[in-house]
């Protein structure tokens, strides 16, 4: 698979903002988060922008602005994050439509669609079973 780091960095950012806020700070900047995740602030702004569109965080503009959680980390599951940042299906179909004159070519996509639906459901169920507060708690105890 073409494993990407989007879910990893998004969860990292949320956990960082949550921890920062629990220490009494109001907003976190993309630069602070990027420094922790060792990446570029624009990458963070792009990712958090998608989380904002999904209603997971708020962004404040102007001087002294930054990011804050829209709801408690315990109420943000990994499925919420996944849905906010991942678009396509786990497994793709053929690039070009298979040969419809062939029995297999004509029937394979409906058959696989059903299978892939079950795979997706299994993954989503497991994603929904963990929230970002769980991850942060694990981060803080593994020391």
């Amino acid at each position: 698979m073409s494993a990407n780091s989007r879910l990893t960095v998004a969860v990292h950012a949320l956990a960082w903002v949550g921890l920062y806020q629990s220490r009494g700070y109001a907003v976190a900047t993309s630069e602070q988060i990027a420094d922790s995740a060792n990446t570029n602030p624009v990458v963070i702004r792009r990712l958090l922008g998608e989380l904002r569109a999904a209603g997971l965080v708020h962004a404040q503009r102007g001087a002294g602005a930054g990011w804050m959680l829209a709801r408690d980390l315990a109420e943000i599951t990994l499925l919420d994050v996944y849905d906010a940042i991942e678009s396509g299906p786990l497994f793709g179909m053929h690039r070009a439509e298979p040969n419809q004159d062939c029995v297999v070519g004509a029937g394979i996509q409906p058959a696989l669609k059903s299978v892939y639906g079950r795979l997706d459901q299994a993954l989503r169920a497991e994603l929904a079973a963990t929230n970002v507060a769980d991850v942060l708690k694990d981060v803080l105890t593994t020391r």
Copy 2:
């Protein structure tokens, strides 16, 4: 995600070979399979080559050669196919190591590794629950 069609085409190829053999033919050529999947024979040879390395199919060379199943379709699960052709993890970690001077940066990867392990297990369990004979049966009844 960067959904690719490798699992789809691999299952398509296996189902095609299985159906072809059930009709009394000994071997299937990459050209026949490519014609059904509407792709290039080299793509099929590359994919089946990986399935061969995993012991799922045999390839015969020389004139009148081609591919044959190494075992019955009912004994080839989607997990077997997945393991044969997909290498990396479902979700990747940060590209660059996160900031180890930050509490979150230092602890996020072990925490996520545990979560991602559960996700992987859930997916694998579901993949193992379906075999290619099931898929072929579904292909033949959906008509």
